[in-house]
Amino acid sequence: MLGVVFTEFTDMVEQAFGAETLDEMIGGVESRLESGGAYTAVGTYHHNEMVLLVSQLAKQTGRDIDELVELFGQHLFGRFVVRYPVFFEGIDHALDFLETVEGHIHFEVRKLYPAAELPTFVCDRKAPQLLVMEYHSTRPFATLCRGLIKGCAQHFGAQLEIDESPLADEASGMCFTIRII
C-alpha cells in the first residue's frame, strides 16, 4: 500500500482525535508494525499495517472499524483534490470522475510507482445518472472505496445513493451501484 495512504491516515487521526490518540494508536501496535510506525509518503508498506492501525483506533475510540475506514476514505479524497489537482481538470461530474480512475489515474500512478499494487475498477455507465462500478482487489478495502466515493460526491456537490453487493467468488470484491439523486 502506498505510503501516502498511511501519512494521510496518521494526519487524519491527529486532526480528528488529537496527537495523544495518534501516539497511543501507533504505540499500541508498534511492535507488530514492520515499519515501526514511521511512514513516508514516497514509501510502500504492507496493507496489514493499515488493518492493525485501524483496529487499534477502533479499540481506543470505541467506534466501529467500518465507520472509521469510511471516514478516512472521505478525508483521503479531499486530500487527493489538494495534492493532485491535475486529475480533476475539465471534469465537473462525480460519475465522470469515477470513470476516469481506472484508465487515467491508475495509469499515472503506475508511472510514478511501478511496483504499486492497485485495485481494479470495472465501470459500466448504465445511464447519465447511474454508474455500476466493480471493485476487484486482493485486499479488504471495499469500505475505504465507499468512503472515497462519498468524498467524491462531496467534492462535486452531488447527492449519491450507493448500493453494495459482494462479488461472487471474490473475498474482497464489491459491486457498487451508484445513482445520483
Binding site: 496527537a19 501516539d23 514516497v42
Partner: protein, 442 residues
C-alpha cells in the same frame, strides 16, 4: 503531564526522523536506478548511432554499386542501339532500293515482306530502347511549337493505307475552328498516337477506328487535351484492363495469340504519358470495342512565330522538288556507304564518300559541298570532332550544312550534335523519306 507530552513528542520526533531517513534512502535508491537507466539509455543511443552510421555506409556502397551497374547498363544500351541500327540500316535501305528495281511479282511480294518485317523489328527495337531510357531517366523531352491537329492528321495519313488494306474505316474527329497550337513534344505525342492507332487497326477485324482530339479545358495558358482512339474490335475483359499497360502484358486468348507485337507498346505509351504529366487509360466492353485515351496538359503557343519553324519544315518535306546537290557522306561502314550513295544518287544528287572524320574534313576543305551527311561514330576522328574542325575552316567551307547521321535517338545525343555545330539530324536506319526530309531542312 508535561513529562508525558515530552515523551510523546520525543517518540513522534523519532518516528518522523526514521520516516525521513527511509525517504532519503528511497530517494537514493531511485536516484541510483535512474542513473543506471540513463547510462543504459546512453549506451543504447551510442550503439544505435553507430549502427545507423554503419548501415548508412553500407547503403552508400550499395547505392554506388547500383549506380555503377545502371551506368554500365546505359552504356551497354547505347552500344547495342548502335550495333543493331547499323545492320538494320543496310537491311532497310537495300530492300527499299531493291523494291525500286525491276522484279517479278513473287520477288516483289517476298521483298515487301522483308521490308515490312524489318520496319516492324525497328519499331520493337525503338520501343525497347525508349523504355530502357525512360527507366534510366535518360529520355529528355522536347519543347517546341506544334499544331496538334497537324500531328494527328499526319498520324492518320501515315496509317490510312494499313487501315484500308485491313478493310477498316479510319475516322478522324479533329477540332476545326479553334487555335490548336501548343509548345511541347509533338514527337512523343505522335509516338503514343501511332501506337494506339496501330493497335486498334491490328486488333479490329471489321468496322472502324476513330481518332478524336479535343480540348477539355484551358486555364492560365495551359490546355488539357484528350486524345482517344476508339475501335469496333473484340473489346477487353475488365480483369485484363488493369494489367494492359504493364510491360509484356498482352491478351492471350482466341485469335489474338496470333497477332504479333512486342507487348511493349502500351507500357511505353504509359511511361511517355507519365513523363508528359498526363494520364492514360482504356474503356472497353467485350464484344463492343475499346476506347484508349490519354489526357495531357499542354502549354498554349503564345504566338505563331513559335510554330513557324516546325510547321514549315514538315510541310516542305512533302511537296518540294529538290535540286541536284553535291553531297559528301562521311560514313565508315561500307554497306551503309552503298545504301546512302544509292539512295542519294537515285534522288539525283552527286555523292562523294569519306571513310572517317579526318577524310571528311580534308574533303570539305577542297570541295564546296552543298551539304555533308556526317556519321557520328567513326574511327580516327568521330563526327562531332570533324564537325568542329569544319566549322573552324576558313571561308565558305565552314558554313556548309552538316546533317548528323546517328543511330542514337536519344535527346542527349541530339544536344551533343547541335553543340558541335551540326545543323540537322537523320536517324539511322536511313529511309529515303527521312533523307529527303533532312535535306529539305537545309
Amino acid at each position: 503531564m508535561a513529562d508525558l507530552d515530552a515523551e510523546r513528542l520525543a517518540r513522534q520526533l523519532n518516528r518522523e526522523r526514521r520516516a525521513r531517513e527511509d525517504a532519503e534512502q528511497l530517494l537514493e535508491e531511485k536516484a541510483r536506478e535512474l542513473y543506471t537507466a540513463n547510462a543504459r539509455l546512453e549506451n543504447l543511443l551510442v550503439d544505435l548511432e553507430r549502427r545507423v552510421l554503419d548501415r548508412t555506409a553500407e547503403l552508400r556502397l550499395a547505392l554506388n554499386d547500383a549506380q555503377r551497374a545502371s551506368r554500365v547498363k546505359s552504356d551497354f544500351l547505347a552500344m547495342v542501339s548502335h550495333e543493331i541500327r547499323t545492320p538494320m540500316n543496310v537491311v532497310l535501305g537495300m530492300s527499299e532500293l531493291l523494291l525500286d528495281s525491276s522484279l517479278d511479282s513473287q520477288q516483289r511480294a517476298m521483298l515487301a515482306s522483308i521490308h515490312d518485317s524489318s520496319k516492324a523489328l525497328l519499331v520493337v527495337i525503338n520501343d525497347l530502347l525508349d523504355l530502357s531510357s525512360i527507366e534510366a531517366g535518360k529520355l529528355g523531352l522536347e519543347y517546341i511549337g506544334f499544331d496538334l491537329r497537324e500531328t494527328g492528321s499526319r498520324v492518320l495519313e501515315g496509317l490510312r493505307h494499313r487501315a484500308e488494306r485491313e478493310g477498316l474505316d479510319l475516322v478522324s474527329i479533329l477540332p476545326e475552328d479553334e487555335d490548336f497550337s501548343f509548345v511541347g513534344d509533338p514527337g512523343r505525342l505522335r509516338q503514343v498516337l501511332v501506337n494506339l492507332v496501330s493497335n486498334a487497326i491490328k486488333y479490329t477485324e471489321k468496322g472502324s477506328v476513330t481518332v478524336k482530339i479535343e480540348r477539355l479545358s484551358r486555364d492560365d495558358g495551359i490546355s488539357r487535351v484528350r486524345c482517344s482512339v476508339s475501335d469496333t474490335g473484340p473489346g477487353i475483359p475488365l480483369e485484363n484492363q488493369a494489367t494492359l499497360f504493364e510491360q509484356y502484358a498482352r491478351l492471350e486468348q482466341g485469335h489474338q495469340e496470333q497477332i504479333e507485337g512486342s507487348g511493349l507498346g502500351l507500357a511505353l505509351c504509359r511511361q511517355l504519358i507519365d513523363l508528359l504529366d498526363g494520364s492514360i487509360g482504356v474503356e472497353s466492353v467485350p464484344g463492343e470495342g475499346s476506347t484508349f485515351w490519354f489526357i495531357v496538359p499542354l502549354r498554349d503557343a503564345e504566338n505563331t512565330s513559335e510554330l513557324d519553324d516546325v510547321v514549315h519544315v514538315t510541310r516542305d518535306a512533302d511537296d518540294v522538288e529538290h535540286p541536284s546537290l553535291r553531297i559528301l557522306v562521311a560514313e565508315d561502314n561500307p554497306a551503309n556507304q552503298v545504301v546512302a550513295r544509292m539512295m542519294l544518287e537515285k534522288m539525283g544528287h552527286q555523292v562523294d564518300m569519306a571513310d572517317d572524320g579526318n577524310a571528311a574534313v580534308a574533303a570539305a576543305r577542297s570541295v564546296a559541298y552543298d551539304v555533308i551527311l556526317m556519321d557520328v561514330r567513326m574511327p580516327v576522328m568521330d563526327g562531332l570532332e570533324a564537325t568542329r574542325a569544319i566549322r573552324g575552316l576558313e571561308g565558305v567551307a565552314s558554313t556548309v550544312p552538316i546533317i548528323a547521321l546517328t543511330a542514337n535517338a536519344m535527346a542527349s545525343d541530339r544536344e551533343k550534335c547541335l553543340s558541335a555545330g551540326m545543323t540537322g539530324f537523320a536517324i539511322k536506319p536511313l529511309s529515303r523519306a527521312a533523307l529527303e526530309r533532312a535535306l529539305a531542312e537545309i
